[in-house]
């Protein structure tokens, strides 16, 4: 139904969409997730030609919509968009907001347009507000009107651009339930959203966007339960991380401790977690010290807000190195402490890279 090939969009030197290729099939509900500023909304706006793509091609039912000969108005009737800021006409009543497009653009009979509008308002639970004005409605009600207005044009595809991000939390569910209902009825939809539970429930497929690319895509079970790529994992598990590079045995332990403590404060970690983390890092650095004149250690502390787990990862390049099994230790005091602090310890040496991972208890 929608085929996107090598789509790109630049604003001056800023590349917002680098190279997007994907397809949305009829009846499919595709959620587009990812950090802010990664081009999700720009992708939707390019599909609807609210932004002119810098390169690539978009086909709707086989028609190249970037071709100058294409009737854009006709294409737009197939595909309608719901915005985060509702974009209702404030000087028109709810009913008039819904009938304006069908009467003006589709040349629909006024009575038929009104009957259809009332049917749609009932669908979104707002029939009694038909003669109200947008300013008399709550945010959630305005967005439901916007969805009904979008449906009034009988589009084949609806693009939702963060439909709940401008709403109070109490109003989010009423809007999402309307979108869920449309999904059940088999409407083709592309939804940019930050509501992860909703995206998981409603979608057939999820696109994770990062840096202007579709970084990973798949069924919601894959993206939310078992993401394959690092950035997707970090986003889904809401991982916050601190990293530092240690390249000399004369590293400044206290400067590092101060940064780790600041990281812990930022994540509002309990004192016991902070103490255990500082201890684990010190013990690890002591074990790595004999190697630090020839090896550089990249230390990463990752905290998952979702699972509330702390992980410490030590990475070094070169020959296989696991200081936990070194035979040059004077005693095993440090090892005993490390083993007591960690729930699991794994070491991998692959492609000349050592990766030692600790999951804290």
């Amino acid at each position: 139904m929608i085929k996107i090939e090598r789509l790109s969009k630049k604003f001056d030197d800023l590349v917002v969409l680098a190279d997007i290729t994907t397809e949305i099939k009829k009846g499919e509900v595709v959620s587009i997730i990812g950090p802010s500023g990664t081009g999700k909304s720009t992708l939707l706006r390019c599909l609807n030609l609210l932004e002119k793509p810098s390169g690539g091609a978009i086909y709707i039912d086989g028609v190249d919509i970037l071709d100058k000969k294409t009737n854009v108005a006709k294409i737009r009737q197939k595909m309608n968009m719901v915005f985060q800021s509702f974009n209702l006409f404030s000087h028109l009543s709810v009913l008039e907001n819904l009938t304006l497009g069908p009467i003006k653009l589709k040349k629909m009979d006024v009575l038929a347009a009104q009957a259809k509008a009332m049917e749609l308002l009932r669908l979104v639970g707002l029939a009694e507000k038909a003669h109200s004005y947008p300013d008399e409605l709550s945010g959630g009600q305005k967005q439901r009107v916007a969805i009904a207005r979008c449906l009034a044009m009988e589009p084949e595809i609806i693009l939702f651009d963060e439909p709940t991000s401008a709403l109070d939390p109490t109003m989010v569910s009423e809007v999402l339930s309307v979108i869920r209902r449309l999904a059940r009825e088999g409407l083709t939809m592309a939804i940019v959203t930050h509501e992860m539970d909703f995206a998981r429930d409603v979608s057939n497929r999820v696109l994770y966007m990062d840096d202007g690319l579709i970084y990973e895509q798949g069924p919601p079970e894959q993206i939310f339960e078992n993401p394959q790529k690092e950035k997707t994992k970090a986003f889904i598990n809401r991982i916050r991380s601190y990293g530092c590079r240690v390249s000399s045995p004369d590293f400044d332990l206290y400067a590092m401790n101060a940064e780790i403590e600041a990281f812990c404060d930022k994540q509002i970690l309990p004192k016991s977690s902070r103490d255990h983390l500082l201890l684990l890092v010190e013990e690890l650095l002591q074990l790595y010290t004999p190697y630090l004149s020839t090896t550089t250690l990249d230390l990463t502390i990752a905290y998952s807000e979702k699972s509330e787990r702390l992980e410490v990862v030590c990475e070094s390049e070169g020959k296989e190195l696991n200081p936990l099994v070194g035979d040059g230790l004077d005693d095993d005091l440090g090892l005993m402490i490390i083993r007591n602090l960690a729930e699991s310890i794994t070491h991998q040496w692959r492609d000349g890279k050592n990766r030692l991972e600790f999951l804290l208890k």
């Binding site: 332990l253 103490d275 010190e282 650095l285 002591q286 005091l333 440090g334």
Partner: protein, 111 residues
């Protein structure tokens, strides 16, 4: 690390505060070594003000015990608690040393 000493009879009471870690342990070891070399052989170490200890700090305590053993001396620890207690538990130190709940009890234990 803050290290202070006072004398109770023939016992040196060492009070340590702050952190006993890879940075401060060498200083602790040096101060203890000087006291033992100076002829002192009975010590109480008060941990009440100590917030943090790592394996480097534990090694400093082990060295102290070793030096005292060689001279027939004795040491008793007092007020081990919180984070320091949990590191002692992890490393098995709680079975290696004589420990009491207060300085007074530690002094009594050495009497």
């Amino acid at each position: 690390m803050d290290l202070q000493t006072r004398t109770e009879g023939d016992v040196i009471v060492v009070t340590i505060g702050g952190r006993l870690d890879a940075v401060t342990a060498p200083e602790y070891e040096q101060r203890i070594r000087e006291m033992i070399d100076g002829g002192n052989s009975r010590f109480v170490v008060d941990f009440e003000q100590l917030d943090y200890i790592s394996s480097a700090g534990l090694r400093g305590l082990l060295l102290m015990a070793k030096l005292l053993n060689a001279k027939g001396g004795r040491v008793c620890f007092a007020n081990i608690q919180g984070n320091v207690q949990s590191v002692f538990d992890m490393s098995g130190f709680n079975t290696l040393f004589k420990m009491e709940n207060s300085v007074a009890e530690a002094l009594a234990a050495l009497a």
